[in-house]
Amino acid sequence: MSVPFILFFTCSAIAVLGALLLIIAREPIHSALALILVMVSLAVLYLLLGAEFIAAVQIIVYAGAVMVLFVFVIMLLNAGVEQRTNYSKLAKFAGVPLGLFLLLEVGHWMWRSAIGSTIANGPGALSQTSISTPDLSKLLFHDYLFPFEATSILILIAILGALVLAKRGE
């Protein structure tokens, strides 16, 4: 057992636990904390994969901004304990089992699929060098310039939408 393995397994265990907690917790805040946990551990995994920049962005944007927003809203609305109503029989009897099935299915497939194995010893799999941020930025601002602009417009629209909705809310 080398360091990367230990890191990987601990972090993945934390992530899965966090996800589980997210599901079973009744207190929205707890769910939020669990999700933050998942995100942080994912960030560590990104580091393990050599994507430092992504890791940083993951924490800054997701954990640092989005989730703060969530927590903020939870506090604002003072969201109490979630009541487990079951108006939707379909969701109760079909949905959850199917979701479980989906989980197992995809997981199993990923595990033993040829894709997984080929990737396991794929070209980049064994190289531990971290991804250089300049290359990433080149890619982002040259090859993907148009999508980038598009997303910026998307964000602008999102801001406006949020403003309008909030105003109406008041």
């Binding site: 939707s88 379909l90 079909a94 949905g95 199917l98 099935f101 989906l102 299915e105 995809v106």
Partner: protein, 665 residues
């Protein structure tokens, strides 16, 4: 060479007039409408004259062909918008533009008090446009366009007074009946294309020239094509058995009857047959059919004409029979004669109709001859012009009709496809023609007035109506004199003018000897006999005798002893009623075709097919979808978690599918 290269101008002018009048004319003053309507036709008439001048300068041995743009191009089926000119076209152009010009002028007076004045003129112009298209067309399809176009205009104009049920019915009848023939015509065109890989006259003819003549017994493609095309002609030119629409078409305004149903449109069939003569000449059977139909129609409708009391109906039937003569002429191979008769007939029949119109105008709308009489003094111009026309149509020597009809009958007796019985029919028909025509004249203009003179005050028509009458009168008197020299063994100028057209695609030698136009044939005969004898023989020929007999009978029955007519009727009542009811043809058609058709379309097509099947399916589908929708909409429970579940179900299904595919691969 301007017009020759820009033939389209001749077409464009009337079309322009039609467009202007039809689209803008509603609010224009009458004078503006007149100037547009008449002006456009007059201009195109002038263009035609110019065209002739230019045409005389070029080598006119073959078809003058002008291609403007490619109109349809599907696979190797290509149709150009192409126009062509030759002597035959020239004649037709002259007739059409000239007569329609006169009719336009006449209409100014005749329609003066009618509503929809601009509409009338726009229709007339449109008709002229289509007629000219038909005449100038250089391929079958374009010709067909004109063909249908004139049909359309005829429909519109017959039903011009669309508030009058009978008028609209007559319009529909005309359209539908013609359509039956056109069906054959269409198939004929397709067959022609299938055979010659082209619809272009030039190409077709050049290919035909190399073809074998099909004997009467063996029916080949040519015969089939000819017969199909002729079916169209039968419809359009009101021959047996499709003539029924023409008499009813008299519901339309009289100028229309004069222009469309006497002078131009109805002769389109004849023109077409003459135009396609290379095919017909090589399909003797078709020729015979044409001749037969023509002769029988000529005789048959003449008999009907005998007893008609409506002045326009008489003229209508006479038109039918005259058309029969034309076909007879074409059928026996004397195309020139047919066309010649077409031209003269255009003059005198147009004149007759216009004059009749003037009479009706004078009688302020009365059309029944039994309520007329003694108009001779009151409307002299009309009387004289009409009398001249009558002489012409009756075939009294010296007048236009005489020459043309004489040539036809001569061809029927001595021509290549001479046939005694056809000739006999034609002859008797000629006699009957002169009888009923003079009957018409006598009933209308002679004897005592049979209308109450206080109510109706008869008046001569205005100048712009009488002038065309006079002009046409001149035409119908002198129109035949081209052929005059031929009486004394000279050449027939009309014949020789048209000769290049009909000589260009002659059938092989041994036939040509007979196929030569009657003129030359006559000359050969004329060598040994002296000109005086010749003239005498011509003047005392059977047709003349028949005509004179008809005249005398008419005089006897309607002037000398008016009651003799009645006694004659008493004598042969059965025949009388039969003829008086037009041989019950309309009733027979009604019983044979219309009623079954009605029954089928009502019970089968409407109640069963449409209501039960189609509506049933449609409504059923609607019902089913409504029901299912009613069931399915329960899914939209408004509970987001259920929706989420559906999403997940979809995801699972998709994943399973992916894995399955991957496993298969």
């Amino acid at each position: 060479m301007f017009i020759l290269t820009h033939l389209w101008i001749i077409l464009a002018l009337p079309l322009l007039g039609a467009a202007l009048n039809g689209l803008l004319g509603r609010n224009w003053p009458k004078t503006a409408v007149n100037s547009v309507g008449v002006g456009s036709v007059a201009l195109s008439f002038l263009c035609v004259l110019e065209l002739i001048r230019e045409f005389l300068q070029i080598d006119a041995s073959h078809l003058w062909f002008q291609r403007y743009f490619n109109w349809i191009s599907v696979g190797h089926f290509t149709v150009d918008f192409a126009l062509s000119v030759d002597q035959l076209t020239i004649v037709m152009l002259l007739v059409v533009t000239f007569v329609s010009l006169l009719v336009h002028i006449y209409s100014i007076g005749y329609m003066a008090h009618e509503g929809g004045y601009y509409r009338f003129f726009s229709y007339l112009n449109l008709f002229v446009f289509f007629m000219l298209t038909l005449v100038l067309a250089a391929n079958l399809v374009l010709m067909f366009v004109g063909w249908e176009g004139v049909g359309l205009c005829s429909y519109l104009l017959i039903g011009f007074w669309f508030l009058k049920k009978t008028a609209t019915d007559a319009g529909k009848k005309a359209f539908i009946t013609t359509r039956i023939g056109d069906f054959g015509f269409t198939i004929g065109i397709l067959l022609a294309f299938w055979t010659f890989n082209s619809v272009d006259f030039g190409t077709i003819f050049s290919q035909v020239a190399s073809r074998q003549v099909e004997s009467v017994t063996s029916i080949g493609t040519l015969t089939a094509i000819c017969l199909l095309l002729f079916a169209g002609a039968v419809g359009k030119s009101a021959q047996l058995p499709l003539y029924v629409w023409l008499p009813d078409a008299m519901e339309g305004p009289t100028p229309v009857s004069a222009l469309i149903h006497a002078a131009t449109m109805v002769t389109a069939g004849v023109y077409m047959v003459a135009r396609m003569h290379p095919l017909f000449s090589r399909a003797p059977l078709a020729m015979f059919v044409v001749a037969l139909v023509g002769a029988v129609t000529a005789f048959y409708s003449a008999t009907i004409g005998l007893l008609q009391t409506d002045i326009k109906k008489v003229l209508a039937y006479s038109t039918v029979s005259q058309l029969g003569y034309m076909f007879l002429g074409c059928g026996v191979g004397a195309y020139a004669a047919g066309i010649f008769h077409l031209m003269t007939h255009a003059f005198f029949k147009g004149l007759l109709f216009l004059a009749a119109g003037s009479v009706i105008h004078a009688m302020s709308g009365e059309q029944d001859m039994r309520k007329m009489g003694g108009l001779r003094r009151k409307i002299p111009v009309t009387y004289w012009t009409m009398f001249a026309a009558t002489l012409a149509i009756a075939g009294i020597p010296g007048f236009a009709g005489y020459f043309s009809k004489d040539e036809i009958l001569e061809a029927a007796s001595k021509g290549p496809q001479a046939n005694f019985w056809l000739w006999l029919l034609g002859l008797v028909g000629a006699g009957l023609t002169s009888f009923y025509m003079f009957r018409l004249v006598f009933l209308t203009f002679f004897g005592k007035p049979r209308y109450d003179e206080k109510k109706v005050h008869v008046h001569e028509s205005p100048r712009n109506m009488t002038v065309p009458l006079m002009i046409l009168a001149i035409g119908s008197v002198a129109g035949g004199w081209f052929a005059a020299p031929h009486l004394v063994g000279g050449t027939d100028y009309f014949e020789s003018w048209l000769h290049p057209v009909f000589a260009s695609y002659q059938v092989p030698a041994q036939v040509t000897q007979q196929e030569l136009p009657a003129g030359e044939g006559e000359e050969n005969g004329g060598v040994q006999s002296s000109q005086g004898m010749e003239l005498l023989r011509a003047l005392t020929g059977p047709p003349v005798i028949a005509a004179v007999l008809g005249l005398l009978f008419a005089w006897w029955f309607y002037i000398r002893k008016p009651d003799a007519a009645k006694r004659a009727m008493q004598k042969m009542r059965g025949l009388y009623t039969l003829i008086h009811n037009k041989y019950y043809v309309d009733e027979i058609y009604n019983a044979l075709f219309i009623q079954p058709l009605l029954w089928i379309s009502t019970n089968v097509l409407w109640h069963t097919m449409d209501e039960k099947m189609i509506d049933g399916t449609v409504n059923g589908i609607a019902h089913i979808s409504r029901e299912t929708g009613g069931q399915v909409r329960e899914l939209q429970s408004g509970n987001a978690r259920s929706y989420a579940t559906w999403v997940v179900i979809g995801a699972v299904g998709f994943t399973v599918l992916l894995i399955g595919l991957w496993m298969v691969r």
